[in-house]
Amino acid sequence: MTALATTAPRRETRLPAPLAGTIEFLRMMSRKPVGLIGLIGVLFFLFLAYVAPFFVPLQDAVDVTAIYAKPSFAHPLGTDFQGRDVVNQIVYGGGDIITTAILAALFSTLIAITFGSIAATVGGRIDSLILAITDVALTIPQLILLIVIAAIFRPSSFFALAVILALLQWPALLRQIRAQVLSLKERDFVEAARSLDLGLLHIIFREMLPNMRSYIVIHFIIAMTLAIYAQAAIMFLGLVPLSGKNWAIMLYFAYNQGALFFKDSFLYLMGPIMAIALFQLSLVWLASGLEDVFNPRLRN
């Protein structure tokens, strides 16, 4: 590792920019093993959720002869209350929940960046108003509000669900973004850019945003983990229409169809729980590894 670190910057052969960037990224990540494990874990689950379904045929048929079957070679984690393979459901059950989490994180980040930057740059009454709304939003007990909203609107598409989750998640990042912009605005290099008349767009996108990359990316990841927990909670409580394949829905059925009472269903229950937990852990570790990558001082 050290050998790579000392020789890499001296190499003169030019790699195409994206490739060189990727190599640099991996090199930085590999400095912190936890981050690298997180990255591998996240990639694994993304593969499982979005690529694996193309190769693994869906096993959706009810098999009354194999209800709550023991783990076996054919069914490594056993079967569910309708005799369907648990592994197969885990493969098919990641897509929706992860997509919803990504969309929710994306929406909440966009809201936070937009209004956080506006609050910090415009200031005055607009700032006070945005802050007041944020504070109110922060003080509402989120899970309870989520349950109420879900119960009223019964969001049936993952898109609608993502919007609802995003509406609950933006306040914390907004405060961070606002604080960052406020401090960046006063930084000498931003003042220099103003003096050089480089324009507001340059200042926001070239001077300020790159300095907030770490906040934004790390928040994005944390927002994904929160969105997954929130989904798991409301689906487990049965508050959204239960259609499709989904780790949280698996849990709902496992719990409500009495899997707890069958001695061979331990892995059936643990399957979705572990899928959610491991994916979350990977995300958190990835976030902690990224903190180093974004620190330019640690680059060579």
Binding site: D188, R194, L196, D197, G199, R206, E207, R213, P296
Partner: protein
């Protein structure tokens, strides 16, 4: 001096704090000619940085005017204002904060060249190369792709100067630009700034707390000494340093330790009447220096606010006693 290029006309700047109103700069006037070098000198809290920021158009005076080529800057709009902004550039004190850590030197220099000189690609590279050469970062190719954290403090200050030069400024305001770099290389940075004035006719304002630095930098120019928001003395550098007219400048110069054992041991001191600097929240009446001043006269200095007046030799001083006696304070205090 011909018509001034840039001028502060009786500017003041007040701040409202929870503890009350503070006048950071009080009724300061300065006229700077083309390719002049001038230093604003004073201790912390004297208002020198605020004055520099008003001069650079980065801070609006609470009262008074900033004039550029005779026109009021804060009346300007749109393109005129943008042109003024580019004409006056600032070099900051902290070399670790003045460059964007996420951008390479090339990425720092390219945008202003692209926007204001329409220099792209090869032309931009040529312009950046010549700028880096001009600020002494050679060979330029070694620096273009570096990030700020890969450079030393002195090199970063040079990049800051190069960045200021991308827009061909008429005035550069350097706020303590050498105080955070190593002693061994300060002079070369001062020389670089000084060359801008002599070779490229840029008016250069150096704000510093260090009179030795000021004397070296403004050796052909002038020094303005500030105390608690006011300019107390304004004169050509050599007379000011060798024969200060204001009791405060006199005390300051007498107090500076010299890098010469004999001189520093035998230097004559000025005994001040008080050690503590008054708070800006609670300034003394009359002359703000009178509670510490060895020349202070009751009934005059603690009542009447002095204004800058002329002494022989083209120097201005805001001191009742020096102006009445028509002698610099250094003579009156016997520390010449």
């Amino acid at each position: 001096m011909s018509a001034p290029l840039i001028e502060l006309d009786r500017v003041s700047r007040t701040y409202t704090t929870p503890a009350g109103t503070i006048t950071a700069v009080d009724d300061v006037s300065l006229q700077l000619g083309e390719s002049e070098t001038i230093c604003i000198v004073g201790e912390s809290g004297c208002g020198k940085t605020t004055t520099g920021r008003m001069l650079a158009g980065l801070l609006r005076p609470s009262s008074g005017r900033l004039l550029f080529e005779g026109a009021d800057v804060w009346e300007k709009k749109g393109n005129d204002l943008a042109r003024f902004r580019r004409a006056v550039q600032l070099v900051h004190q902290d070399p670790y904060a003045s460059l964007n850590p996420t951008r390479t030197i090339a990425q720092t220099l390219a945008p202003p060249l692209a926007k204001h000189k329409k220099a792209h690609g090869r032309a931009a590279r040529a312009a950046m190369t010549s700028l880096l050469e001009r600020v002494g970062l050679t060979p330029p190719a070694d620096f273009l792709l570096k990030y700020p954290h890969q450079l030393s403090g002195g090199q970063r200050q040079r990049v800051s100067i190069a960045r200021a030069l991308t827009v061909d400024p008429r005035v550069i305001v350097a706020d303590e630009a050498v105080s955070m770099v190593d002693v061994s290389i300060r002079i070369s940075l001062l020389d670089l700034l000084h060359n801008l004035a002599t070779e490229f006719h840029v008016t250069t304002v150096l704000i510093t707390h260090d009179l030795a630095v000021a004397r070296y930098f403004a050796r052909e120019g002038r020094i303005a000494v500030m105390y608690l928001g006011k300019v107390v003395e304004l004169a050509a550098t050599e007379p000011l340093v060798s024969d200060p007219a204001h009791p405060y400048s006199t005390a300051l110069i007498a107090a500076i330790p010299e890098a010469d054992p004999t001189i520093t041991r035998t230097k004559k001191r000025v005994a001040l009447r008080g050690a503590e600097v008054p708070s800006l929240l609670n300034l003394p009446p009359g002359c703000v220096f009178h509670p510490r001043c060895p020349l202070s006269e009751p009934g005059l200095c603690d009542v009447v606010v002095p204004t800058l007046g002329d002494l022989p030799g083209g120097r201005s001083v805001a001191c009742h006693v020096a102006l009445r006696e028509r002698q610099p304070a250094a003579e009156l205090l016997g520390v010449r």
